[in-house]
């Protein structure tokens, strides 16, 4: 079952949204998200997707309208990038606190300033704490698969949390790849139509978005925290079910040639494929280096990570974003604190790479491994490094 197609990843994502039978889409254009929403608009215009496409006047309104659509009871989707995600920021927290299962693609792009339309993870890292489920895709196939799965995860009544699928802007969104699509009947069976827990229904009036005094706020946030943490089990269930359907199984932390590796690279997103080449070349040269790919960013897979680093002396985290003036890149800070409680733990060093679309080659990762080893030998000289800064 399923059929192979070759197409731009953005278009594949729009097909995934179509096959998921999204009912309501509100979006505002921003490079490099545009191809996704343009194709959805045309599908709606041609009757290929029975949905409403709402052309809002800003991303702030896009997320606000998505909340309205979801509160009405519709399966809701949007996509954005960089400045658009930043403009949504205020409303992102509210969407998750109100437990609306909106699915959003973020075509990851650097944040201004200076203005830069190319890829890094600065946009999503600034929105790290919004209380959404956050997943990173590595290639076109994963982009398609995770978009479909996101609806099933988000809408699960044990979860009811909005979900972001992160796709590297341009270097993933605009690449033409071969991928395998499920048949529509398979998707329909996997993802039945959306049954909301609560809607704004005149027959069953409810108040949504009441404010909370100090004696309530902590409890509401605790419930939100528990919901996000507990979504982990449901995410794994959905990934397993999809794996049985498609033959493609996904894990919170993916391992590549980690057997016996004393040094592990760790990265998120599509550059993992570049890192794989570096690992292949290092392994061929007899160097026991492996690669970890963090797929599930929120909820953070603490246990998976702790198991995955077992036996390693050094974990080199290649962040794609900065936390200016802070401990390290956001991923490295997270990884280091996840590993800190372990009695035997590897050293964790941080090298931020590929900011604002700076090209990354397999040689970059080999350089990073070499630099990190030297740093480990002489003791860390600084909190973290921004790789490849030209003097």
């Amino acid at each position: 079952m399923g059929h192979r197609v070759g197409m731009e990843v953005s278009i594949a994502v729009s097909h995934a949204v179509q096959m998921a039978r999204a009912e309501a889409i509100a979006a505002y254009p921003i490079t490099p998200q545009t191809h996704i929403v343009e194709h959805l608009a045309s599908m709606v215009a041609n009757g290929e997707l029975e949905a409403e496409f709402l052309n809002v006047e800003s991303e702030h309104s896009a997320m606000s309208a998505c909340i309205g659509m979801s509160a009405a009871g519709a399966r809701t989707y949007t996509a954005t990038s960089s400045q658009g995600l930043a403009l949504m920021y205020e409303i992102l927290f509210i969407a998750s606190a109100m437990r609306f299962p909106i699915v959003m693609t973020v075509a990851n792009r650097a944040l201004s300033g200076p203005l830069n339309i190319w890829n890094d993870h600065g946009d999503i890292m600034a929105a790290r704490d919004i209380g959404w489920i956050q997943i990173f895709a590595e290639n076109g196939q994963e982009s398609y698969d995770h978009t479909i799965m996101a609806f099933k995860i988000a809408e699960n009544h044990k979860v009811l949390l909005p979900t972001i699928i992160n796709l590297d802007g341009f270097i993933l969104t605009h690449v033409v790849e071969a991928q395998e699509f499920l048949e529509q009947e398979q998707v329909d069976k996997f993802l039945p139509s959306y049954h909301p827990r609560f809607t704004l229904d005149p027959k069953r009036p409810v108040t949504m978005g009441a404010f909370a005094m100090p004696e309530m706020y902590t409890e509401v946030k605790f419930a939100h925290e528990m919901a996000l943490r507990n979504s982990y089990d449901q995410i794994l269930k959905v990934w397993k079910e999809y794996g049985d359907l498609s033959g493609r199984y996904y894990h919170p932390v993916e391992r590549y040639k980690t057997e016996g590796a004393k040094v592990l690279l760790l990265i998120m997103g599509s550059l993992a494929e570049v890192a794989e080449i570096a690992v292949d070349e290092l392994r061929e040269a007899g160097d026991e280096v492996g690669l970890l790919k963090l797929r599930l960013w929120r909820p953070f897979p603490f246990q998976d990570l702790r198991e995955a680093v077992n036996g390693a002396d050094l974990v080199i985290v290649c962040d794609r974003a900065l936390s200016l003036g802070g401990a390290a890149g956001p991923v490295m800070a997270e990884v280091r604190s996840a590993l800190y409680p372990l009695a035997e733990k590897p050293a964790v060093l941080g090298y931020t790479v590929g900011l604002g679309g700076r090209d990354i080659q397999p040689s970059t990762f080999k350089d990073v491994v070499r630099l990190a080893r030297a740093e480990l030998a002489q003791g860390p000289q600084q909190e973290f490094h921004i790789f490849g800064v030209r003097g």
Binding site: A24, E57, S61, S64, G68, A72, E90, L200, P202, A210
Partner: protein
């Protein structure tokens, strides 16, 4: 809409109990201040909205006094998301209901109503509102205009009138208070070419009630701008709230009219305009104004009123005599 002219509007007490719906949709127990004109307006607007409706509300006084978790004063299905995005939330609701009805998942389309304060409407929410009006959603937007950011402690908005004292437009040695004229939000709504726009005030309940009904029944976007007297922010006596709303209309400061498909019509026509000072002098927020500023406000009010009369093709009422120096014309 039936015409409830000035004379009829004065007879409200005789009609009220029998002609208006008894069912309450905005229940008692909310925490609005004594004499809150906005709470009075909400009560009657929700009655006019009636059954089968959902409400999206902006952050502001009304949201805060009515929705402290785990209580609510709203009998309608009601959603609050944030301050500046209520028109966008309502757009989403209307769109969501529409696709669900088209797919046969929803038997009946609920009416969609958005509500927000003057700050949430004329300032920070203007973009979202403009977008929603331009897109032509079938919804009604109601602005509660108490002429300042009351929820955060009486700061000026673009809807605060000239000369008013607020905490961020304080009168001082170098300032007379608010130095700008009230933004003409109604004209902005009209400029979107929407089918129904109106002003209203809970001091004229029939007028308010039927305008809301008409707005709800009008396909496409409708906008209603409701003057909501705020004794706390206006520094006025709480028992004068209804009176103040009447004075706003009788002085021509806040005329009651509607614009149906671009055509203006006065719905309450005072046969004679009172001097503006009748309205100003019982509000502490204007206390600091000198004769000069009062006369300026009087002239400005009449000029604006004349422009409106021309748009409405209405006949001129008797105007008060203006003198540059008079302090009070009563």
């Amino acid at each position: 809409m039936e015409k409830f002219g000035y004379a009829q509007s004065q007879k409200f007490d005789t009609y009220a109990s029998r002609l208006m719906p008894r069912k309450e949709y905005f229940t008692s127990g909310h925490r609005a201040c004594q004499g809150c004109g906005e709470a009075l307006a909400v009560r009657w607007v929700t009655k006019a909205i009636g059954e089968d409706a959902v409400i999206a509300h902006a952050t502001g006084c009304m949201e805060i006094v009515s929705s402290g978790m785990p209580q609510t004063a709203w009998m309608h299905p009601w959603i609050h998301v944030a301050f500046e995005n209520t028109a966008a939330v309502a757009s989403g609701l209307e769109t969501g209901f529409r696709i669900l009805a088209r797919k046969g998942k929803l038997a009946k389309l609920p009416k969609v109503v958005a509500m927000g304060g003057d700050g949430g409407t004329t300032d920070i929410g203007l973009q979202a509102l403009s977008g929603a009006l331009e897109r032509g959603h079938n919804f009604t937007y109601v602005c509660w205009d108490n002429e300042a950011y009351m929820n955060t402690g009486i700061q000026r908005s673009s809807s605060t009138p000239y000369g008013a004292m607020t905490t961020t437009s304080p009168p001082g040695k170098l300032s007379i208070g608010q130095t700008t004229q009230k933004k003409n939000m109604v004209a902005i709504a009209v400029a979107h070419g929407i089918p129904y726009v109106a002003t209203a005030c809970p001091s004229y309940l029939f007028d308010l009630f039927f305008k809301v009904k008409r707005a709800i029944e009008t396909p496409g976007p409708a906008y209603i701008h409701v003057l909501s007297v705020c004794p706390t922010g206006w520094r006025s006596a709480t028992e004068l709230s209804v009176r103040l709303g009447r004075l706003a209309v009788e002085t021509g400061v806040f005329p009651l009219f509607e614009v149906v498909n671009g055509k203006y019509r006065l719905t309450v026509e005072p046969p004679k305009l009172r001097p503006v000072n009748d309205y100003l002098k019982i509000q502490g927020r204007f206390r600091h104004l000198r004769d000069k500023e009062r006369a300026f406000i009087q002239r400005h009010t009449l000029a604006a009123y004349q422009l409106l009369l021309e748009k409405c093709g209405a006949s001129y009422p008797e105007f008060p005599v203006i003198s540059e120096t008079e302090e009070e014309s009563e």
